[in-house]
């Protein structure tokens, strides 16, 4: 077994040519220097000012000079290690290494038993973490729901505790309060056995945010600064919606996203040079008929792929978005929207693609069945990312000569030797003859996925906590359900 999680090299998909990357970069520098970013947080503004940015405290505008951006880009690590609690789940974010995982913070899930949409609870945080642990193509767990059955002040600690308890893959999440953030960091230290261990093998990381267009507000910027000072990895994504909080042109949206995400990254690097900060995007579009945010739009995938090209230019790993759908149930639309968007962003070589599992309905609802289906979609996407390996052995000219005109390859050792690596073997897709499919109950995709999800929830045993550790954590955090 390899030491780290399975690695795939994306990057074959380019949504604009290389010289256009430069053009967007130059436009971004211009915007940073001339328009600036509105930084409502006075403490952050002061940091920018102390390092020589042009700051108008009255208007809260921070203009970031080219040199400050360049220094930050140079200081930010090109390789970020996001660990699992087990080494086999370590992720190496660099270059065009591509991983896909969950995401959301949704409020609802389709109930696995009834199929009905109901509020998410602690058992769903645990359930989706467990699914993450079991499904081979899910590389990490961005905590994907908000438990509505615990008191507001206990939400943060419950989200993280039940995630750690149910998966040893990397856990990342947003936080809701400063107290919660501090609790989560302390909880993580207790699991790691101290701060030094935690920072050496960070199995937890955080998400803060930049508000499009071009705003850093107070609370989340405080979170950002707190996390950077502590030293755990962080992403500062922006979520410009093309046509609403960004230009409708996708190049304009990539540009604004670039400015915003880099502004967060600059602040992080000013506070602590070399801090593991990920470039971030959750950008998408607004639907112009209904006026709502769209998750499964093809344009979202293009914007994310474009941002990946920008991040690759800066040599900073990227947290990106792909694989969602706006359908209300795990149906055909759910399949094609998730497949198209996951595929495009993965082929672009975005390093850490979140939201790729189980999401429906504008990123507001989860589905266990869909998570299983997405595991297959992502399997296909990763197979596509792997491309075609070409060498003497795979061209197989000697084998072709040996079999000769009119022969067949089925029984050849070359076939048996390579088939498992060359082919992707789906588990949800039905490949039976009609007669056999009918004999096995004529189940559709979602019904087949449901059986698999039920089995995982019933049978899968995650690493979990040793008994004394669990007792200690529960004693220290009375709010844990």
């Amino acid at each position: 077994m390899s030491k780290v999680f399975q690695q795939y090299q994306g990057g074959s998909n380019k949504v604009f040519p290389g010289d256009k990357v430069k053009e967007i970069h130059e436009a971004s520098v211009h915007l940073m220097e001339k328009v600036g970013v509105k930084v409502h947080n006075p403490r952050a503004r002061q940091i920018f000012a102390d390092h020589g940015a042009q700051v108008d405290h009255g208007e809260a505008i921070v203009k970031i000079p080219r040199s400050m951006l360049e220094d930050a880009v140079a200081a930010a690590p090109s390789r970020v290690l996001l660990c699992g609690r087990e080494e086999k789940n370590d992720l190496v974010l660099e270059g065009t290494n591509t991983y896909l995982g969950t995401g959301g913070t949704v409020l609802y899930t389709l109930d696995l038993d009834t199929g009905e949409r109901r509020p998410t609870e602690v058992r769903d945080v645990a359930g989706y973490a467990k699914m993450t642990d079991a499904l081979e193509n899910v590389a990490f767990f961005v905590i994907n729901c908000y438990p509505q059955d615990v008191a507001t002040e206990d939400v943060d600690v419950n989200r993280f505790y039940h995630s750690f308890a149910n998966t040893s893959k990397h856990v990342m999440g947003g936080i809701y309060t400063m107290e919660g953030l501090k609790d989560v960091i302390r909880l993580s230290e207790e699991i790691a056995g101290g701060k030094a261990n935690l920072l050496a093998r960070p199995f937890v990381s955080f998400i803060t945010l930049i508000m499009s267009p071009l705003v850093m507000e107070v609370t989340y910027t405080d979170f950002l600064m707190e996390i950077v000072r502590y030293g755990l990895p962080l992403t500062t994504p922006a979520e410009p919606l093309a046509g609403a909080t960004a230009p409708v042109t996708l190049a304009g949206t990539v540009t604004i996203n670039n400015v915003e995400s880099l502004a967060g990254l600059v602040l992080a690097q000013l506070i602590r040079k070399g801090h593991p900060t990920l470039y971030g995007t959750t950008s998408s579009i607004m639907d112009m008929v209904t006026g709502t945010y769209m998750a499964g739009a093809i344009e979202s995938a293009l914007i994310n792929a474009g941002c990946a090209q920008m991040a690759q230019y800066y040599e900073i790993p990227i947290y990106a978005t792909g694989g969602m759908s706006d359908s209300k149930i795990p149906d055909c639309q759910a399949g094609y929207e998730s497949a198209a968007t996951a595929m495009i962003v993965a082929l672009a070589g975005a390093n850490y693609i979140h939201d790729a599992f189980g999401l429906l309905e504008f990123c507001t609802t989860l589905s266990y069945e869909k998570m299983v289906i997405d595991n297959e979609i992502v399997g296909m996407a990763l197979r596509a990312v792997r491309g075609i390996e070409v060498n003497e052995e795979t061209i197989a000219a000697d084998i072709i000569a040996e079999v000769g005109p009119g022969g067949n390859f089925l029984a050849h050792r070359h076939t048996a030797g390579h088939v498992r690596k060359e082919f992707f073997f789906p588990r949800v897709a039905d490949r039976q003859m009609r007669r056999d499919w009918e004999a096995s109950g004529s189940a559709d995709t979602a019904a087949r996925a449901k059986v698999m999800a039920e089995e995982i929830l019933r049978e899968h045993r995650p690493l979990g906590f040793a008994e004394d550790l669990e007792a200690l954590l529960r004693k220290n955090y009375a709010g844990i359900k």
Binding site: Y176, T245, M286, V289, T290, Y293, T364
Partner: protein, 205 residues
Amino acid sequence: MIQEIYTKVLAGESDGVRSAVQKALDEGIKPSKIINDALIKAMDEVGARMKSGEMYVPEVLIAAEAMKAGLGLVKPLLEGEAYAVGKVVIGTVAGDLHDIGKNLVTMLLESSGFEVIDLGVDASAEVFLEAAGKHKPQIVGLSALLTTTMASMEATVKALREKAPGIKTMIGGAPVSQQFADEIGAGGYAPDGASAVDLAKKLIQ
């Protein structure tokens, strides 16, 4: 001329609306007739076309812009007559920074002839109460996009019901529902911008 104003609003041509409105005034058509039979009527049609998916949101907003350009010429001539259909104070509740939906609702209300005072994001119950006292709207609209801020919404609606009982409240945002509106005693709930306008119209009747 009334017809021309109507068509130019639908086409979103601000300059065209302005010159047509000027011509109408020169011809002696009454300002209130220009507003009701041309400007507002055009926006009603825009609303209908938006609902049917014929017009896209940005086109709707450009039509609204054109309507306002015409309104700007007529408004000063109204001599005390109230031109607005009604007055709404709107804001995103304390702790919540989401404003895209609230802004859209604001623009659509304005384009349907409402006067709207926007309190921005992260507005506390006190800010809402103060604005309600100062502007005396018929309706206060509240937006919340987070479960965590639905509590501030509840508190604000409660404060308004106690301290400004004459004012109706309407609420919206992704996690909010009719059921929640009933629970907290809000005057109404609307799931999207177009129905928010319908709701506001219903509430002021």
